[in-house]
């Protein structure tokens, strides 16, 4: 099969998945017996006649007097128009799309820093532990990754807070920035920084290095937690696949040609051992997203995850449904990209 045929086929498969995903969210918002679409789209601050008028308008727009399976398509149409409803939580109240604009960059930032940390921590440890199999370091790495794997994420967060934040007092562990530093800035209002909404980048853009440094410190602990929670499975899989690769004939050939150990490990073995990790990437995205919910809650870090738990605690339909849809969309797209990337790297996949 040609590569483009594979990509087209994969893209076509993407459509039923999207329909299924939106359908699940739609069914969820109807399964309580009551139609939650109204609750999702009516701005809770609206009262009196304006509210009645809005409800009338929504009933017309969403065709709420028609059967449910027809309503689904009208709902889908509104979603595709970017009309995702309203959210009302203590940290943000207003349209869902604005909420996503404000919170998603922060989550993306944590995930990005965490991914870098995962590679920096995971790959060397995994390779080292496979190369020096059964050495003392290998044992420590194995026990460590095994325990991290078993620990709930919030416990990793709590352990880091206790060790680094409370005892050593070197890193802050709540919020995105020290509020005293940003109280008089022109580009920071009500906990929202402009223009990118990631305070670290905004501070750099405005040449305010003191705030940037502080924001960077605030970013470290949540990202490190996320990285540690994910890195355990990376190390385990990398170690296993590295051991498998090291046992293969072409590695033995490389040894017998007299190639130095460094080259054998870094050039010949590691590249092939990294392939299974690509598959794991999809899983990692899922894990990063799920982990972000917990970690942002523990660190009160205003990202999508924190917003989701706030929505749960405040019975906010709009927030919950929108974040379910958003998380699903991110994960589905990540898997799509992964599959295509994998087909590029490994031609066997296409068949």
């Amino acid at each position: 099969m040609k590569l483009w045929v594979y990509i087209v086929r994969r893209l076509l498969l993407f459509i039923p998945t999207l329909i299924g995903l939106t359908f699940i969210v739609f069914v969820l918002s109807h399964s309580g017996g009551t139609n939650l679409v109204l609750a999702e789209y009516v701005n809770p601050r609206l009262t009196g006649e304006a509210r009645t008028l809005l409800i009338q308008k929504l009933t017309e727009e969403f065709h709420l007097n028609q059967p449910i399976y027809i309503q689904y398509f009208y709902w889908l149409y509104q979603i595709m128009q970017g009309n995702w409803g309203y959210t009302n939580t203590p940290i943000f109240s207003g349209s869902v799309v604005t909420a996503i604009e404000l919170f998603l960059p922060n989550t993306a930032m944590i995930a990005a820093v965490a991914s870098i940390l995962i590679w920096v921590i995971g790959v060397p440890l995994g390779v080292y532990s496979a190369v020096n199999r059964d050495s003392a370091t290998d044992q420590v790495v194995r026990v460590g990754s095994f325990s991290l794997y078993a620990m709930p994420i919030y416990l990793i967060a709590v352990a880091l807070i206790l060790a680094v934040g409370v005892y050593l007092k070197i890193l802050p562990f709540a919020g995105v920035v020290n509020p005293l530093l940003v109280s008089n800035l022109s580009w920071y209002h009500n906990g929202i920084s402009y223009p990118t909404h990631i305070i670290l980048i905004d501070a750099i853009l405005h040449n305010n290095w003191q705030v940037a440094w502080n924001a960077f410190l605030h970013l470290l602990l949540p990202s490190l937690t996320l990285a540690l929670a994910t890195v355990a499975s990376i190390i385990r899989i990398l170690r296993a696949s590295m051991l498998e690769v090291l046992d293969q004939d072409y590695i033995r050939l490389a040894w017998s040609k007299g190639i130095s150990a460094k080259l054998v490990y870094n050039l010949h073995a590691r590249r092939n051992a990294l392939l299974p990790l690509l598959t794991l990437f999809g899983l990692t995205v899922a894990f990063l997203l799920g982990g972000a919910v917990v970690i942002e809650t523990v660190f009160s870090y205003p990202g999508i995850g924190y917003w989701t738990t706030q929505a749960l605690l405040n019975n906010d339909v709009g927030g919950i449904m929108a974040s379910t849809l958003l998380f699903g969309l991110i994960l589905v797209s990540a898997n799509l990209i992964l599959d295509i990337a994998y087909a590029f790297v490994d031609p066997r996949i296409r068949y």
Partner: protein, 296 residues
């Protein structure tokens, strides 16, 4: 006569399995820890007074002295906010966590296994549709899906476990499906078909027994992860403030005292981690027993 040798063979087999399992020291440790948790849960269920506990279903707050106290002879593991004794609460919580995790795994595994086996056996269009559905459920991070389902059902322990079971069955469906697909190719299935055995009989008498052992291992491994996720959901606020002894909820009670009372966070968390570790060790040992290639 033949019956007897078969019986003896089975006995030999069991003895070999036990010795393989016993040779794996960490698996034995895992088994012992899991048994301790189970015994604690049973005591809490049937005779909590044995450990001097009066109310196994609720936390007993002490509003006269709500600030967490460090470990002392009266409170061996200290107390958490509001004046709740940690040791007794953890003992109570283990029962609730174990029971609900069992429920989630049992429902998820049985629904998933049935769907997986039927789907692999039926193949064709039905199989395709089922696998697409599992794909779609997989496309939502389970924590988020559980949050959404739980939100619709209302926040409570039961709804939390139902939500988790709903997010968990596709995993087992895929697992059972792949097991069935490989079992289907064996000669003895061919032979059964040739002998004219009915489809349902083949499915339940010949395929099911071969699919179940790996699923049981998956169950034993999952029990730990489910308990972790269960407590995570409770930790981020799934249980509305109620006096329910649950390990994640107990941890969250101590969250505001992270600077002054670290024990209120460490101990409940430690008990979850130890259980999850023990379950993983146990699962590894069981896998050694079932996988013939890993038998010495």
């Amino acid at each position: 006569m033949q019956q007897e040798t078969a019986e003896a063979g089975r006995w030999e087999n069991l003895k070999l399995s036990i010795s393989v399992f016993m040779a794996n020291k960490s698996a034995v440790v895992g088994l012992i820890i899991v048994l301790v948790y189970l015994i604690d849960a049973l005591i809490m269920q049937f005779d909590p007074m044995l450990l001097g506990i009066h109310h196994p279903d609720v936390l007993v707050p002490n509003f006269l002295n709500p600030v967490p106290l460090p470990p002392s002879p009266q409170h061996i593991l200290g107390t958490t906010y509001p004046g709740i004794d940690l040791l007794t609460s953890i003992l109570k919580a283990i029962r609730i966590d174990l029971a609900y995790s069992f429920f989630v795994v049992a429902v998820g595994a049985s629904v998933g296994a049935v769907i997986g086996i039927v789907s692999a056996w039926a193949s064709g269009m039905f199989d395709e549709v089922i696998m697409r559905i599992t794909d779609i459920v997989f496309s939502i991070p389970y924590l988020i899906l559980a949050l959404a389902v739980g939100f619709i059902l209302g926040r409570s322990l039961w709804h939390m476990s139902i939500a988790l079971a709903i997010t968990w069955w596709p995993l087992y469906a895929r697992y059972a499906r792949s097991q069935t697909l490989s079992t289907k190719e064996y000669t003895f299935i061919e032979a059964a078909k040739a002998a004219g055995v009915g489809r349902t009989t083949i499915m339940f008498r010949h395929i099911l027994p071969n699919v179940l052992p790996p699923i049981f291992i998956q169950i034993s491994l999952d029990l730990g992860s489910i308990m972790v996720i269960f407590s995570t959901l409770a930790f981020i606020g799934f249980i509305p403030s109620a006096n329910i002894p649950e390990l994640g909820y107990l941890t969250s009670l101590g969250l505001n005292f992270v600077q002054t009372a670290p024990w209120a966070l460490i101990f409940p968390g430690l008990f979850i981690t130890i259980f999850a570790l023990a379950v993983n060790l146990l699962g590894d040992g069981l896998r050694d027993v079932i996988d013939p290639r890993r038998r010495g």
